[in-house]
């Protein structure tokens, strides 16, 4: 039986879709059978982040309304064995799907897949309720900003009231240089405020934008630090005990000289 994990945040633009794409791809690289569901009906994006936008025929709403069979709507990612996408409908609204239909869908997919990752829309309305309806576990994304942490706190409360216990926190877009000089909340600061356990921390990395431009998740890019962070998070999702990524910038003489001459410090 597969496991259903919802990736949520409350606030928009903190990296839910990017995280779904990267963890999903990471799991597939480890040989797992994975399906990604985009539940952001009307504002679908997971397809473009995955580079699968040209292959959509049917979508989530078609499946729950019975216009097509579930198997027909699943897009197989040809680059990674065992990775599939169920895209959101673009021309419908969030009320086209009900929590009961999502529970049915998750139960059907559990039979076939090891992991079902749900990309949740921003907000706490119908779309959010649909996305969490069939979930066993939750990953809450935040960035080190007051607004995002506040919204994450609200989401944690709502998840707990829906009996989704022990959500895990992912802190995205951390800038170690700013944390160092006291201008950005650290991992410890945020964990202290939200009182939940971490699943990982992802540094702010321009490779994420480059990989999204190309439609290739950063998790397969060995040179990207964010990719490394996502590879570690993938292992933690599978239950492995991996230490948190050390984001401290080593400002030794050599790296300073490299920066001076425009080389990227490794």
């Amino acid at each position: 039986m597969g496991e259903v994990i919802v990736i949520t945040s409350g606030k928009g633009g903190v990296g839910k879709t990017t995280t779904t794409a990267n963890i999903g791809t990471g799991l597939a690289v480890h040989g797992k059978k994975v399906v990604l569901i985009d539940t952001d009906i009307g504002l679908r994006n997971l397809d473009v982040v995955m580079g699968l936008e040209n292959r959509i025929v049917y979508d989530l709403v078609d499946v729950v309304e019975g216009t097509c069979r579930l198997k027909q709507a699943l897009i197989k990612d040809k680059r990674f064995d065992g990775l599939y996408l169920l895209p959101a409908a673009q021309t419908r609204d969030k009320n086209s799907v009900s929590p009961e239909q999502m529970m049915w869908l998750c139960d059907e997919l559990r039979k076939e897949f090891d992991y079902i990752l749900i990309d949740c829309p921003a907000g706490i309305e119908q779309g959010f309720k649909n996305a969490i309806a069939g979930a066993d576990r939750a990953i809450v994304i935040t960035t080190p900003e007051v607004s995002a942490v506040r919204d994450a706190d609200r989401i944690i409360g709502l998840l707990e009231s829906q009996e989704i216990r022990n959500p895990r926190l992912l802190i995205n877009r951390v800038r170690p240089d700013m944390v160092k000089r006291g201008d950005m909340m650290s991992m410890e600061d945020i964990v202290d405020i939200l009182a939940i356990k971490m699943i990982g921390v992802v540094p702010d990395d321009e490779n994420i934008i480059i990989s999204t431009n190309r439609g290739e998740p950063a998790v397969i890019d060995n040179k990207s630090l964010a990719g490394q962070a996502y590879r570690n998070i993938t292992k933690r999702v599978m239950g492995e005990d991996v230490p948190l990524l050390d984001l401290n910038v080593s400002d030794g003489f050599l790296s300073k000289m490299k920066k001076l001459f425009g080389f990227k410090s490794a």
Binding site: R150, R154, G182, M185, S186, A195
Partner: protein
């Protein structure tokens, strides 16, 4: 001279500490999922009981609903935090 001044004032509080403090205050209100009237009722009842034994500063009395970690650290549980400044003890209580 201006730089020196900036250096001296900057040391006072880093922006992340300001963020943390502001967040903590905002979350206390967000998490208290009850009406202000409810908290007022609780507050006035507590004042009534305590006043039988001591003289308190009603103006600066502060009662908040917040969240805290449970003893085993596994769950988050709600907590009632009351800050009640005492002016004087009443003789009747001794």
């Amino acid at each position: 001279m201006l730089d020196l001044f900036r250096l001296l004032t900057r040391r006072k509080e880093s922006s992340k500490d300001v963020a943390k403090e502001r967040l903590k205050l905002v979350l206390i209100h967000d998490r208290a999922n009850v009406s202000p009237q409810f908290l007022e009722m609780v507050k006035s009842e507590i004042i009534k009981v305590i006043q039988n034994y001591m003289e308190i500063d009603e103006e600066s009395l502060d009662i908040q609903l917040t969240r805290t970690n449970s003893d085993d650290g596994e769950r988050v549980v709600p907590a009632l935090v009351a800050n009640i400044p005492i002016k004087n003890m009443k003789n009747a209580g001794r």
